[in-house]
Each structure stands twice: as C-alpha cells, then as structure tokens.
Assembly symmetry: C2
Homo-oligomer: 167 residues x 2
C-alpha cells in the first residue's frame, strides 16, 4: 500500500500531500495529465470520473466531473499555468460547488531512482477558511483511496509494457 | 492622491492591496484588462511597459515587459483563470526573474456608489518566503506610484468621455 502523507498546519492556507510510487517519473507524469488515465484513478473508489477536458499545456483548460455511487455529481475545473514534463504542473482548481474559490496547485514529481517517484501536491488556498473547508472528515480516507487507485493504474501500465513484445 | 493600503501579516503567504478610485467600476475594469490602458499605468513612474499579450478570458494568457530608466527589463506572465466583468479577475503571475514561483492573484472591484470604485488585489504565494521576497524596500513607494498612474489614466478616460459630443 502506498502511504498518503497530508500536511495541513493550523492557521496556514495550504495543504501539502506527498506519495511515493513504485513507477518511473515519466509514467507518473503521464498518469497525471492524460485524460484516459486520469479518469481511471481520480477517486475515491466507487466514483465514476469523466475527464471532459485536460489540455495540459500553459493556458490550457481542464474540467473533471465525478459521480458517486448515489449519483451525486461534483465538477471542478481550472487552467494550466505551466506544464514541464516530466517534473512539474502548476494549475488552478475551482470546485464548482464552491464557485469563486480558487486554489493554486503545484504538482512536483521527483525521481527517487530505482524506478520510484515522489509526488508532491501543494495546494494554496485564497483563505485559511477555504483551506479548512477541504479538511473535512473523510478527506484523508478519500485521498488514500485515490492514491491506491493511482498506484493500480501505474502498475497496470507497467505490466502492459512488460507484456508487450520487444521491438 | 489615492491611498494605497498594503496588508502583509507576518508569517502569512498573502498580500492584500486596496485602493479607491474616483472612477466608475466599468472603467476601472477596462483599465485593468485592456492592453493599451494597462501599458499606460503599469508602473512605477519612469518605467516603460509593453503589454505583449493580455487575452483577458478564462484560459487566456498575458505577458508584460517593463523597462526602467536604466534600461533594465523585467518580464512577467500568467494565465487567466476567470474573468467576470466588471467585478473580478483571477489569474496567475510568474516573475520571469524568479522562474517557477507562481502567485495566485484575485482582483475584485467593488462599486462604492457615486462613481467610485474600490479595487482589492489579493496575492497568494506558494510560500511565505516568496511572499516576503516581494516585500522588498521600496515596494510600497512603487505600488503608490503605480496607483497614481492608474488614477491619472482613469481621469484622462473620464475627461475624454466628457469632452466627446453627446450622440
């Protein structure tokens, strides 16, 4: 199991989430920015995710719609400030259920060697209140579930590649 | 003279700048997003500003280059997350001299009545260190100078409109 580490100090307007995956950085980057792969892991488990748009380039926009087991939908969107493969994505995030509240997200991928990658997701909120609103009960479990789904997607991609005949 | 109010609490990763202009909100909004007008006030005084791009719509990009009296140039760019005329612009800002450090900016325009408008510029930084780097000596004077230039641009636009024959 991949551990999900969440840092949210009292009074600060940021959350830092780190996870280490048994997958090379190129692949983790691809899984973070490719519509088809993102739809497979954006969780938590039990959620059906539709990636309506994921134009991962500076000035590109993205929109994701999630549907939970009860049929409730949650949408969010944003723009990419900067995309630097395979190490960094900076974008904005707006939960459409909380319109007008925007988050600045920086995802950094660090090559740990040996085919392992550390993902750091740094979320900066407009206010401490916005930050705290995200720290709701169950958030940690949801995040951990999403991490597991992403680890599974990465493992499937690695297995697929290994199964492919050498050329 | 228009007062420039800067709030930067110790240990926080934000700066809040407020100014009240003797100009209607529509006009202040236009002066904030129109390339030609932005070039006239983006200061401080003595700086020549070139607005290379100012595509003020969600997903649009912008880039501004400033040249000071000694010929030094300073460039910055970003993307617009959201543009809601005449009340709100949310965008990202990256000083090219500090690459990789991104700021989330929210500009809000409030109609105070009587043809007056309050502009609140809320800057959120990725770290407290990034925020503090902006609070350099002279920053307050530069900001005040920029405010004056913007007030002059607004006044010129109002005079021009009053001088134009009624149709």
């Amino acid at each position: 199991m991949v551990e999900t580490n969440i840092i949210a100090e009292p009074g600060k307007q940021e959350i830092i989430i780190t996870r280490e995956f048994d997958a090379p950085r190129d692949l983790v980057f691809k899984a973070s920015t490719d519509s088809e792969l993102v739809a497979q892991w954006w969780g938590p488990r039990g959620t059906t995710t539709t990636v309506e748009k994921m134009d991962a380039r500076s000035g590109g926009t993205w929109r994701v719609v999630q549907r939970d087991a009860e049929g409730n939908t949650f949408a969010m969107h944003g723009v990419f400030h900067d995309v630097t493969p395979p190490e960094r994505v900076v974008d904005t995030v707006e939960y459409e259920g909380m319109p007008g509240h925007v988050v600045l997200e920086t995802e950094t991928l660090e090559d740990l060697g040996g085919g392992r990658t550390k993902m750091t997701d740094h979320l900066v909120f407009q206010t401490v209140e916005d930050r705290n609103a995200m720290l709701q009960p169950g958030m940690k479990e949801e995040m951990a579930s999403t991490t597991e789904l992403l680890a599974e997607v990465l493992q499937r991609q690695i297995s697929k590649k290994q199964a492919a005949p050498a050329r």
